[in-house]
């Protein structure tokens, strides 16, 4: 009988031991130093976050400082919110950088070089093939999906395009002009016939085209812009120099690290290359061509 009791007790003890789960000990939250990096809504803001998170985590590990990503609903916001949100840096689009540099003096550190070897992009103006729109004239009275006033591809290009074709007031020329906020939405709005003409950057266009065959099948590109530098990481000018160097080094040597290489591949880049302010000269020139005075330009969407 004793044996039965013993067996029962042993089993109960074992079961108790087995079923006991480690209760997490609440960690003391220490006000740790962190680096806030802003993101522009190049794609869906949530996808954008997902896309950059691995790089942010990798850099955190390398510089020994937590990096917090902060996505913004519009390109223009990043310039306005850079200081107020306490951002230390951001992955700026080419035009936003040009604007931010002019306004805030941010310094660019590096930008990705894509798998195919390019480190630039260009803007595209596209329509549905079945829309019959092929020229600027055809666009009259049509709906135009811009991305953002502060984008090269999603705004500078169409402005320059209209300018080139003698259309000064595109708002009056078009039936409707609106800003999707993201390149992705601009492409899909045209594809889904929510808009007749759209403008977006080729990198997003090509990436989406790989996932969705309708893009290449149903859309046709009417215009492209000159190449401008791909979105790069720029930091506030007063950021600690050492940290700045560390960040730059970490980004530039990422491809040498197996983990870094993996993250780069998922990001769709071969490596990060060193980037300076000079690389954005073409953007400034292009803006001028589009009749934009950078120092007085109102980059906020209407």
């Amino acid at each position: 009988m004793f044996r039965i009791f013993a067996a029962v007790f042993v089993c109960l003890a074992l079961t108790a031991a087995c079923s006991r789960k480690e209760t997490p000990v609440p960690q003391k939250t220490v006000e740790e130093k962190k680096l806030v990096i802003g993101l522009i809504p190049e794609e869906h803001i949530f996808d954008q976050l997902d896309r950059y998170k691995p790089i942010a985590d990798y850099l955190s590990g390398k510089i020994g400082m937590k990096i917090v990503l902060k996505v913004l609903p519009s390109y223009g916001n990043i310039i306005d919110n850079f200081v107020s949100s306490g951002m230390d840096g951001a992955f700026f689009g080419s035009f936003t950088y040009t604007l931010a540099h002019a306004k805030l003096g941010v310094e660019v550190l590096a930008r990705p070089k894509s798998i195919d070897g390019t480190s630039t992009y260009h803007g595209l103006i596209f329509v549905r093939k079945d829309s019959g729109i092929r020229t600027a004239e055809d666009m009259k009275g049509k709906r135009f999906a811009f991305v953002d006033k502060a984008t090269t591809a999603g705004y500078l290009l169409p402005i320059e395009y209209f300018c080139k074709h003698g259309i000064r007031n595109y708002k009056a020329y078009l039936k409707e002009a609106y800003f999707t906020g993201t390149h992705e939405d601009a492409i899909y709005d045209v594809l889904n016939k929510k808009a007749d003409v759209g403008a977006a950057k080729n990198t997003v266009y090509e990436r989406l085209a790989k996932e969705d065959p309708r893009i290449n099948r149903d859309l046709v590109v009417l215009e492209r812009s000159p190449d401008v530098p791909e979105n790069g990481l720029a930091v506030r000018k007063d950021l600690d120099k050492t940290l700045k160097e560390e960040l730059k080094d970490a980004l530039l040597s990422m491809q040498n690290d197996p983990e870094g290489a993996k993250i780069l591949a998922a990001f769709g880049a071969r490596r990060f290359i060193e980037t300076t302010d000079r690389d954005y000269k073409s953007v400034a020139d292009y803006a001028r061509e589009a009749g934009i005075n950078l120092s007085t330009y109102d980059y906020m969407n209407e």
Binding site: F46, K70, T180
Partner: protein
């Protein structure tokens, strides 16, 4: 039994093990059931959680553009949380159906996210904006409905599962109670069977040993099972063997007891050490007979109680010698129960039994031997005295006759004055006395052969009485002696020498008369002992009796208490009686005086002639 015990123990162990395993499995099953329940609850909570997240995002959406609108960061956080909540669902194991539903949900959430992103990022006219917002809101509502459905399904399932789990737990509880409660009963039952299995045969064996102890060597244990059967068989064999051994011992004991009991000599076993030192431990019949006790009486005595005082004094010394290992042979005096002391020859030594020391003694009554020796000694003494006396008497008799004749001649001379004549006659008288003494001496030393004729004892005794007490100084007025005749008138005649018998009676009667100086009664009694074919004659007086220390010597020659006695009268008497094959004894009467007791056989002729 061993096999049985092993079987029972094995089975009970297996049962215990089975019960233990069953309990473990049941507990495991129940806990996993509970675990499942908890998980289901968690799932429900998670789905509720997800629902809340989505609703929050929906509210974010609803508040957009109002003054309560939340910041993009907050909305992003809420969406991230919402996504996190749905991702958690994938951490659990699900059936493919549920998994598919979750995947649908996830993709739906993806669509919702896209719609949200659009709403957040788009800058357009109100119509377009509202359209986007409505689309996003609708997606959100669809999502909420979808999750509601899932929650309903989960809840439904949960209720069923909870009920079944509770049933299972109740069932398990009952089984556990039954198992735990039945455990002691099972143990008690097994214990009872065990104890019964042991006590019953052990009781039988115990009873058998008691019977055996009680001396019932014929008792056998009835057939028992298993090893007890072997023990019983062995026990029965032992009982048989014991009986056989006992029989042998009894036979041996009987033989030795016969030897002990029927021995002619007295055998004693005497304690030689401890408190009961010298106590008689065992004695045989011969010892009892020899000392006039029963065996039982002897066992209450010490050996010194049988010794004469002198012998008793030296007893410890003898025992010491024996304890040193000496086997002693000695002659000492023992005392019978009635006080008679008799000589014994002892042969004794040490006997060790069970670490205790005893004395083993063989005593032989040597009275007869002693008497024979004494008789022989006396005969020898008599022969020497007789020869001496005869020689002496012969040598003295002749000169004495000459002296007597001379004295008589001289006394008859006329010239002898009268005074001298009287002296001479006195000398002649003394010479006659010497002659009489010499005659007695010759009679004693060389008694004349008896001349047997048929004799009437009563007549001879009567003559002797008449001759002794009539016309003698033994009975006079100054010392009157009454004669009491108590004769058996039917006495048979016996063959004897009447002259010698006369002399015997005369000697006794003269001694009796002498002892009654103040007068008294003399009683003469005759009787016939028919079985012994002897005539008894008792002559007793009421005189002064005989002193105890002299009573043994009274028949010895030359022993006398009288100033002028020769000490030959009673010695001759004894000799004459013995010549007739009879015996003579003397003892003091209880009141006064002494009695002489004679017994003379009717047919003593042959022995007498031989004597």
């Amino acid at each position: 039994m061993k096999k049985k015990v092993i079987w029972i123990l094995g089975i009970s162990s297996l049962l215990s093990l089975a019960a233990g395993i069953y309990i473990i499995i049941t507990i495991q099953k129940t806990t996993s059931e509970l675990d499942n329940l908890i998980k289901l609850h968690q799932v429900e909570i998670l789905r509720e959680h997800l629902l809340i997240r989505i609703k929050r995002v929906q509210s974010d959406l609803g508040l957009k553009g109002t003054r309560y609108a939340r910041g993009v960061d907050t909305i992003v956080t809420d969406v991230t949380n919402m996504e996190g909540a749905v991702d958690v669902c994938f951490d659990c194991h699900h059936t493919p159906t549920v998994l598919q539903r979750l995947r649908d949900l996830k993709s739906h959430i993806g669509e919702y996210k896209e719609a949200l992103s659009r709403v957040l990022t788009i800058r357009a006219n109100e119509v377009r904006l509202e359209g986007e917002e409505d689309a996003a809101f609708k997606t959100g509502e669809d999502l909420i409905r979808q999750i509601d459905t899932m929650i309903a399904i989960t809840t439904n399932k949960l209720t069923g599962k909870t009920e079944s789990a509770l049933d299972q737990i109740a069932h398990t509880k009952i089984i556990l109670f039954v198992l735990v409660a039945s455990g002691p009963f099972l143990a008690a039952g097994l214990g009872f069977i065990f104890i019964r299995g042991f006590t019953k045969p052990v009781g039988a064996l115990l009873n058998a040993t008691r019977r055996l102890k009680g001396g019932d060597l014929d008792f056998r244990v009835a057939a028992l099972k298993d090893e007890f059967g072997e023990v019983a068989e062995s026990f029965n064999e032992m009982a048989g063997s014991l009986k056989e051994q006992m029989y042998k011992i009894e036979e041996s004991e009987k033989r030795y007891r016969a030897l002990f009991e029927r021995a002619g000599d007295a055998i004693f076993i005497i304690d030689a050490e401890g408190e009961n030192r010298l106590r008689i431990v065992a004695a045989n019949q011969a010892a009892a007979r020899m000392h006039g006790y029963t065996v039982g009486e002897l066992l209450g005595l010490k050996i010194t109680d049988l010794d004469s005082p002198e012998a008793a004094e030296r007893a410890p010394q003898r025992v010491e010698r024996m304890l040193k290992g000496e086997w002693i042979h000695t002659e000492i005096l023992h005392r019978k129960k009635d006080g008679i002391v008799f000589p014994v020859e002892i042969s004794a030594g040490l006997l060790e039994l069970s670490d205790h020391k005893y004395v083993l003694a063989f005593d032989r009554d040597i009275s007869e031997r002693k008497e024979a020796e004494e008789a022989l000694q006396r005969v020898e003494q008599m022969r020497v005295v007789g020869e001496l006396a005869a020689g002496l008497a012969h040598e003295i008799k002749n000169p004495l006759t000459g002296i007597k004749a001379s004295m008589e001649v001289l006394s008859e001379e006329a010239a002898v004055p009268e005074e001298d004549r009287k002296i001479l006659m006195k000398v002649v008288g003394e010479i006659k006395r010497i002659e009489s003494l010499l005659k007695d001496l010759l009679n004693f030393a060389r008694p004349p052969r008896p001349q047997f004729t048929s004799v009437n004892i009563n007549k001879v005794l009567n003559t002797a009485l008449a001759f002794s007490f009539q016309n003698t100084s033994l009975s006079s007025k100054s010392r009157p002696v009454a004669i009491v005749r108590n004769f058996d008138e039917h006495l048979p005649e016996l063959m004897a020498d009447p002259q010698q018998l006369q002399q015997v009676f005369m000697n006794i009667l003269l001694n009796a008369g002498d002892s009654m100086a103040e007068g008294g009664t003399l009683m003469a009694q005759t009787s016939y002992d028919e079985p012994g074919r002897v005539i008894r004659i008792n002559i007793s007086d009421t005189g002064k009796g005989i002193e105890q220390k002299e009573i043994d010597k009274i028949f010895q020659p030359f022993f006398t208490t009288k100033p002028k006695g020769t000490g030959l009268g009673l010695a001759i008497t004894k000799r004459l009686v013995e010549q007739h094959g009879g015996t003579i004894k003397v003892y003091n009467n209880e009141g006064k005086g002494a009695t002489f007791e004679l017994s003379i056989p009717l047919s003593q002729a042959r022995e007498a002639r031989q004597a």
